[in-house]
């Protein structure tokens, strides 16, 4: 089967049940997508499939034929996506492990909802856990990215 990862066409002929997470991490060494739970409970593995936020740990490869997958490595060429800039400005990360998932979730949210309300931010971002407790800065950074006109992207 064929799919596109960060703009690069790929052919996959492995176990169709293998979750996208392990294909990204073990085969493509795209380790920016993190493993946190494997059961869709933490959001550390959040990527975009055809532009929507998806948890890679529960997305089997067989569901991805013809799909376009974007990971943190493909979110922007120079690390300057409005979400990344807002995250840097707020110095959001502590350990950083959850942050790629957080940013992918935020980028998807803002694409869909350029001016999210507090409730919409809480709802979308509650899918991604942060054990270090950076939620306050994430909220601020999402609003900052929204204010920067992220919605246009």
């Amino acid at each position: 089967m064929r799919l596109t990862i960060n703009g690069t066409p790929r052919t996959y002929d492995g176990d169709p049940a293998q979750p996208l997470l392990w294909y990204l991490r073990d085969e493509l060494q795209l380790t920016g997508t993190k493993f946190g739970c494997g059961i869709s409970a933490c959001g550390a593995c959040t990527v975009h499939v055809n532009g929507a936020a998806v948890q890679a740990c529960v997305t089997p490869m067989k569901a991805l034929a013809g799909k376009k997958v974007t990971t943190i490595e493909g979110l922007s060429a120079a690390g300057d996506h409005p979400v990344q800039k807002a995250w840097a400005a707020a110095n959001v990360p502590q350990c950083g492990y959850c942050q790629t998932g957080q940013m992918m979730a935020a980028a998807a949210l803002l694409k869909e909802t350029p001016r999210p309300t507090d409730a919409e931010i809480d709802k979308a971002m509650s899918a991604v856990l942060c054990r270090c407790g950076t939620y306050q800065r994430i909220r601020a950074a999402v609003k900052d990215a929204a204010a920067s006109g992220m919605g246009g992207r």
């Binding site: 293998q18 494997g38 059961i39 350990c95 950083g96 509650s126």
Partner: protein, 762 residues
């Protein structure tokens, strides 16, 4: 300044990206991306004025961080400190992560020690000495007095003549000079980085997904393994059938890992490892294993029954550890007596990154890359487990996706080393979340019984505290059934309140799981019990809780910790009481700060309340006010948390604030949702679906951090924010509903709605 910082970070990213492209093998490239630039010590020709500092002929400054980065910002803080004293250009400084090696002194990243206990002064001294030598070299070059020149951001300048030379031109001469005596440190007013806010050193790599954590490390030709651990502590594989597992495509071997006998310290629990060509194949193979586990003395461990056992234990007289005055007599004669029992369950660290390690064993040598808080213990434990010389074990430290104490214990690195030796290939061991929750080193469970007597004026005249809680020492030695003095010094024995008659007893509590330290350790249950009880006493005395706490703290003074009536000396986080006294003025100031900033005492609508707590831990003073709102169905929302911290001086204030923000979330998880329970010796919880930690929707709407710069001696930062928040929340719930939370987590205790606020309380 920010622009320069960003540029530095960006240059760093490019350099790392360059290395990524230069390498051929996928495995190598992940490691080189992290390893750079020369982890194994000085390059030929480098000047190494200290084990923490190297300066190359071209002027490149490399700082070695010997402590582990797990979100607390040590890699940023230590670079700031060195760069400031050295007057290096922070924008171009290189950072090298130290391998496990005794030459660095203690590398164990726990106890909130990385800045406070030594590194701060060691790094300042190293930087200042090298700066003075570079200045002397420049002065000699120009034939002027050393006092006429000054280093400034990577160059030395002679102001009178306007001449300047970059470090690169001075290294050759500077290194031949004698080390200056005495080393003259900067005055705080001269600091250009210390005490200022800079972006985290690893920020760019984190934001672009390039940061390498333990789960991300890899080596060429590496196999992947997951381990089926015994479900009950002390159980071993009795028999197993691996046929189905071996049929899974990609599974190559099933290997039994010998488990250490109890108490197993940091050694592996044992179990069955599935070695495969991918993580997924290993996980699938593990699901197909058929195992019969041997019996363990912990097979019947049951949290419900154990709680009853702890209650019975704490209701009888225990072993005396503190006896001041006559608590029994004073209790009997008190005008008013209050008693309460507090329960705090086991907790799982649950760092977002589950433990992981890659190891390669060749002959009697082992090289490992792992997310460890303690590379020296990793080295020692791997050597012991494999029976190879410690000198032959190299432990590289990756970034840690959270640690919280779990990653001080290197059992997972031992597993990787063992499997590499058995397979003859490099092996990466991935702990899944289930392994992490079920087979970790859970935080102790605790039952505390408190009794106090008040006199007619509402002053505390008697205090009896009994604690039943399995000790951490039980994982290292047999027959450890009582909380130890070092654990009791995390709240119970160093309790600051002025009470003339105090008795503290420890009660029996045998462990039935491994027990490990967890962010702020026994301060979690002890601050919860003491600070909730103080609130109960305030209400019993008919006093405002802040006023009551201030009165109980008494006047500003330093407590004499040798006159507390304890059987053994009270611990002080490894510091001397003379240098880090129990300072009532600092307790009072954080409490007064948080009361003022939170608007303590303001009128709140029905169903809302504020609670307060103050607690000293890791030599730092913290007070918190939580504002809570309890809905008709018992739903808890938190409009605001205020937290005031006095850690003496903040090297990196933004990171101190973020550590406080994070501590609030972790403490609220401890208080509201998290609980690790056992049934038939096994944990009931297994993953984030049932071991719950706070999500954004449950987090406070606003957290306000107030840094109190007392200029006191440096205290810890990573942990001390945790203890006071949970009791402040419980006290707020009482203020909102009239219901006491004496058992954690709050969970569903409030379903049923608020009860009437009893007379006598606010």
């Amino acid at each position: 300044m920010t622009t320069t910082m960003e540029r530095r970070a960006f240059i760093g990213t490019l350099a790392k990206a360059g290395l990524v492209l230069a390498a051929t093998s996928a495995g190598v490239r992940r490691l080189e991306a992290f390893e750079l630039p020369h982890e194994h010590g000085p390059l030929a020709g480098e000047w190494e004025p200290s084990v923490f500092l190297r300066i190359a002929d071209d002027g490149t400054v490399t700082v070695t961080c010997h402590r582990s980065e797990m979100g607390q910002g040590v890699r940023t803080a230590l670079v700031m400190v060195m760069a400031d004293e050295l007057e290096a250009d922070y924008a171009t400084i290189q950072l090298d992560q130290g391998i496990g090696d005794n030459k660095y002194g203690d590398q164990n990243t726990d106890g909130s020690t990385s800045i406070r206990s030594g590194s701060y002064m060691k790094f300042r001294n190293a930087g200042a000495a090298a700066r003075m030598m570079l200045e002397q070299a420049a002065a000699a070059e120009w034939g002027v007095d050393a006092s006429a020149v000054a280093a400034r951001s990577g160059t030395v300048v002679h102001a009178a003549s306007g001449r300047s030379l970059p470090f690169a031109r001075l290294v050759a001469r500077a290194r031949t000079l004698p080390v200056p005596q005495p080393v003259v440190l900067k005055q705080p007013s001269q600091f250009r980085l210390i005490g200022k806010d800079v972006p985290g050193y690893d920020l760019r790599n984190v934001l672009t997904g390039k940061a390498v954590f333990g789960q991300d490390a890899s080596m060429p030709g590496m196999k992947y393994a997951v381990v089926l651990h015994p479900p009950v502590y002390g159980s071993k594989v009795a028999k197993y059938d691996a046929a189905a597992a071996l049929k899974v495509k990609g599974v190559e071997k099933v290997i039994e890992i010998p488990g250490a006998p109890m108490p197993s310290a940091f050694l592996p629990l044992g179990g069955l490892a599935v070695v495969a060509t991918s993580t997924w194949a290993a996980i699938e193979g593990r699901r197909k294993l058929v195992v019969t586990w041997g019996a363990s003395p912990n097979d019947s461990y049951d949290s419900v029954a154990y709680r009853a056992e702890l209650e019975a234990s704490a209701r009888a007289e225990g072993k005396k550890v503190r006896d001041l005055g006559d608590a029994g007599g004073a209790l009997a004669g008190a005008a008013r007596k209050v008693e309460a029992e507090y329960y705090a369950p086991h907790l799982a660290h649950a760092p977002m990154e589950p433990p992981a390690a890659v190891a390669k064993v060749t002959g009697d040598a082992c090289e490992t890359w792992t997310c460890t808080q303690n590379p020296q213990a990793s080295r020692d434990t791997i050597a012991a487990f494999l029976k190879i010389p410690k000198e032959k074990v190299t432990v590289h430290v990756t970034l840690l996706g959270g640690g919280f104490g779990r990653k001080s214990k290197p059992d997972y690195a031992c597993e990787a080393a063992f499997l590499s030796r058995e397979t003859g290939a490099p092996v990466k061991v991935v702990w899944t979340r289930e392994d992490d929750i079920q087979n970790g080193f859970p935080h102790t469970v605790s039952l505390q019984r408190l009794e106090a007597g008040l006199d007619a004026s509402g002053k505390i005249v008697a205090w009896r505290h009994r604690i039943a809680s399995p000790p951490i020492s039980s994982v290292f030695a047999p027959n450890q059934e009582y909380h130890t003095d070092s654990e009791l010094s995390l709240g119970v024995l160093d309790m600051p309140y002025e009470v003339p008659n105090v008795r503290v007893e420890v009660c029996k509590a045998p462990a039935h799981s491994r027990i490990g330290w967890y962010r702020s350790v026994s301060n979690v249950p002890q601050a919860f019990a003491i600070s909730c009880f103080m609130d109960e006493l305030a209400h019993a005395a008919g006093k405002d809780p802040v006023e009551f706490l201030l009165a109980a703290l008494g006047p500003e003074r330093v407590l004499d910790m040798t006159k507390t009536g304890t059987v053994n000396p009270v611990g002080n986080y490894g510091a001397k009481w003379e240098e880090h006294p129990n300072d009532i003025a600092r307790h009072r100031r954080v409490l007064q700060t948080v009361a003022k900033e939170s608007g303590w005492g303001k009128k709140l609508p029905r169903g809302e309340g504020m609670g307060v707590a103050v607690h000293r831990s890791f030599l730092t003073y913290v007070a918190s006010v939580v504002h809570v709102k309890v809905g008709p169905k018992g739903e808890v929302t938190i409009p605001r948390v205020d937290i005031a911290m006095d850690c003496g001086y903040a090297v990196h204030p933004d990171r101190v604030r973020s550590q406080c923000e994070g501590a609030v979330i972790m403490s609220l998880s401890n208080a509201l949702t998290s609980e690790l329970t056992y049934k038939n010796g096994r944990t009931v919880q297994s993953n984030y679906n049932n071991y719950q930690v706070l999500r954004m929707s449950q987090a406070p709407k606003h957290t306000a951090v107030h840094l109190v710069h007392s200029g006191g001696p440096l205290g810890g930062v990573g942990e001390p924010g945790v203890p006071p928040v949970a009791p402040a929340l419980a006290n707020a719930i009482f203020a909102a509903t009239g219901k006491r939370i004496r058992s954690l987590p709050v969970g569903r205790q409030l379903a049923g709605g608020p009860v009437a606020v009893p007379a006598g309380s606010r």
